[in-house]
């Protein structure tokens, strides 16, 4: 039971972190129709900038400044790159962001090399907040939850209580209403892209000390982010939240419990073949739940798409 509680908390942290990425991605997608393949790369940029800044000023300034720089870079890329490609259509836009992801990864390796960087949590948070049955829960993770919740509430406030937020919200469901933003649509697009990427950058800063800062960190998270928003329903912010939490818990619990295929198969009445290593189904018999953990989101996505192509909470297709 104690372990269960710890896992609930851990899964919650993972889910919220995922949501910080997904919310920005969803905002951008809803407003601009662009699925930003490079979104996780901005997350990586955030972590690297924060590391570099923290060398000089310490963690906290990095936490503030790095997302701003990432957002600025995002806005500039929208202005001078994406807008240019926009006229060719959606597929080239997607390809552009894909190329951007490659380029950002290579650029980061150019400046920071290929090894993992020693980016650690600030000393002020480097202690165990509490422990459940010997399992320490780091104060830093409490901080992560606080930041993610803060972002979420701010977003909620902006979307439901401000004029621009309501327009954005309308645009989530009815893309045509984007035009109601007036004639300054390009500026709004640039800002949305900037804010979305800044949020990814912020996620990178706070995730960096926990998940590691290395050139593969974008790739490692990238596809999961897309899978999440597809499961949640493209363009649905609530869907993104639900799917993020589902995936966070799914992965945590899948890893936490050692259910083996052998147990399941024997329970439903099969007998284990004796010479398991020569058996054609050996892989099935030796399968364990933690092994399956990382592919569960993809399986879930395929299932959701087959049964409900618009995603869990999506209301429009494509």
């Amino acid at each position: 039971m104690a372990l269960f509680l710890v896992n609930v908390l851990d899964g919650f942290v993972t889910g919220l972190l995922l949501f910080m990425l997904c919310s920005g991605l969803t905002l951008i997608f809803s407003m601009m129709g662009v699925l930003n393949f490079a979104h996780a790369s901005f997350y990586m940029l955030g972590a690297y900038f924060a590391y570099q800044i923290s060398l000089v000023t310490g963690f906290w300034i990095g936490l503030l400044v790095a997302p701003l720089i990432v957002g600025l870079i995002g806005a500039l890329i929208e202005r001078y790159g994406l807008r240019r490609v926009h006229k060719y259509g959606h597929v080239p836009e997607l390809i552009f962001t894909f190329g951007l992801a490659l380029l950002i990864e290579e650029t980061i390796q150019f400046f920071w090399g290929k090894s993992q960087l020693p980016f650690s949590e600030p000393a002020a948070l480097d202690f165990a907040a509490f422990a459940i049955a010997g399992n320490a829960f780091p104060a830093y993770k409490v901080f992560m939850i606080a930041v993610a919740m803060g972002i979420f509430l701010t977003l909620l406030y902006i979307l439901t209580k401000t004029r621009i937020g309501m327009t954005i919200q309308a645009a989530l469901s009815y893309p045509e209403t984007v035009q109601n933003l007036g004639h300054n649509v390009p500026l709004v697009f640039m800002c949305v892209f900037g804010v979305g990427t800044a949020m990814a950058g912020l996620a990178g800063v706070i995730a960096g000390p926990v998940l590691g800062v290395f050139p593969g960190m974008a790739l490692q998270l990238g596809s999961i982010v897309f899978v999440t928003i597809v499961i949640g329903g493209l363009g649905s912010l609530w869907g993104a939240l639900v799917a993020s939490l589902i995936i966070g818990w799914l992965q945590t619990f899948a890893t936490a419990y050692d259910v083996t295929a052998e147990q399941v198969l024997t329970a439903i009445g099969f007998t284990k073949p004796e010479m398991i290593w020569d058996h054609p189904l050996q892989d099935l018999w030796t399968l364990t739940l933690p092994q399956l953990g990382p592919i569960l989101p993809y399986l879930l996505m395929v299932i959701v798409l087959v049964l409900r192509p618009q995603g869990l909470m999506g209301n429009r297709e494509s």
């Binding site: 851990d10 090399g113 290929k114 993992q116 290395f214």
Partner: protein
């Protein structure tokens, strides 16, 4: 503009010609390892150790054919891909190189050893020799062994033998958790841990034995929770790269303060990432030792390495043996072209290494037998890793480790 362009073109052409002409009295070794991409650090570091040992132990002392020949390292970037490795092998052979060195990734080593065996079977008069400096999947010197492959690192079983010696000597350890990456090497480590612990300390309970997907786990926290929850007194893992950092940080972050035995828990950014938290906790099993330098020559040799390569680590001491042992074999044959004779000369060779002590290339399976040490992370290391101020110091030293270990290898000799 015109003139500059022309100048560059001629310079380029001249460079190519010079590159082709300078290759005469050199014995070239193709170094096929990742030099770009996520594992570039491993390859770059290995290449540096090779270059350093070639310079200090062979070329400068004139140790190859009485100083009439020199070794030259020719790097080939395989991007840690099996396909690229085979292409680079082909390129290297086309350039006339007949000595291939590789080590990062047992998967690539498997591909290369098969490709080399196939090539030598199809071209019996023009064989190629494969010097494996750090791929430690036991299969390479057991079921998949072949005459042209030589392994200079201690394989996973040998390392586990030494590692479990250390555990067996520690009465505080009653429960062990084994975790590794889900592929041949991870499985080999798990199997060896089980076997040796059963043999040496049947009272130790293995409270967890699991494999996780390689390179796919973003957050090791749930694993760490299980490890802490199991009440383990020690962790054994064969993880490397990002999986090592992730696992180590998560386990220590979850409040685990007992030994974590690793195969690759140091250098390449890992020591820096663990930092202070890893002191006294992270253990590493490996061939030879760096701290304290086992011999005076080793002390000078490693010091010189850090002068030449201040940003890199002297991470895998056994790699410094490859060049001098090859040189000794060539000297015994008397020329560098009869690859078959050189391979026969390498078989059974005994060598006094400055870093791995008494070293023996076992004839039966082409597995090197050498000193294997269990080292612990500490801030009091003379030679540090990742410029982090901390390094690995030998705690348990096993000379000629696993000299009498069995092999399933049935060597077919040409």
């Amino acid at each position: 503009m015109n003139k500059f362009n022309l100048m560059m073109a001629t310079a380029l052409a001249a460079g190519l010609v010079a590159g082709a002409a300078a290759a005469q009295e050199k014995v070239r070794i193709a170094f096929i390892d990742p030099l770009s991409g996520p594992f570039a650090t491993t390859g770059t570091q290995g290449l540096a150790i090779y270059r350093h040992s070639v310079k200090e132990l062979v070329n400068e002392p004139g140790a190859l054919l009485d100083g009439n020949a020199e070794f030259e390292m020719v790097p080939f970037d395989n991007k840690i891909s099996a396909k690229e490795s085979l292409i680079q092998l082909q390129v290297a052979m086309d350039q006339g190189i007949r000595v291939i060195a590789q080590g990062a990734s047992s998967g690539v080593a498997n591909a290369l050893t098969e490709a080399v065996a196939k090539h030598n079977r199809r071209n019996p008069d023009d064989p190629v020799i494969f010097l494996n400096h750090s791929a430690v999947d036991p299969a390479l010197t057991n079921d998949k062994c072949q005459f042209w492959h030589f392994r200079f690192d201690a394989n996973a079983d040998i390392k586990m033998d030494a590692l479990t010696d250390d555990i067996a000597a520690n009465p505080d350890i009653k429960k062990v958790y084994v975790i590794g990456q889900d592929y041949s090497f991870g499985k080999a480590v798990a199997a060896a841990a089980q076997r040796f612990l059963q043999e040496k300390r049947p009272d130790i309970e293995i409270v967890g034995n699991e494999l996780h997907p390689i390179g796919k786990v973003k957050d090791f926290t749930p694993y760490a929770r299980k490890i802490v929850g199991s009440g383990a007194d020690a962790v054994i893992t064969g993880n490397w790269g990002g999986d090592m950092v992730g696992l180590g940080k998560a386990v220590m972050g979850a409040g685990f303060d007992k030994p974590i035995y690793t195969y690759y828990g140091a250098t390449s950014g890992i020591t820096a990432a663990f930092g202070e938290e890893g002191d006294g906790i992270v253990k590493l099993v490996g061939a030879g030792q760096v701290n304290p330098a086992p011999t005076l020559e080793a002390q000078e040799f490693i010091e010189a390495f850090y002068v030449s390569f201040p940003d890199l680590d002297f991470g895998q001491p056994q790699m410094a043996n490859v060049a001098p042992m090859l040189a000794a074999a060539i000297n015994e044959v008397g020329n560098a072209t009869d690859i078959k004779a050189i391979a026969y000369a390498l078989e059974g060779m005994e060598y006094d290494s400055i870093v791995t002590g008494k070293t023996l290339m076992r004839e039966s399976d082409h597995q090197t037998i050498q000193t294997v040490t269990v080292q612990g992370q500490t801030p009091e290391a003379a030679f540090d890793y990742d410029n982090s101020g901390r390094g690995m110091v030998a705690e348990t030293v096993v000379e000629l480790a696993s000299n009498d270990s069995a092999t399933t290898c049935e060597m077919k000799r040409p």
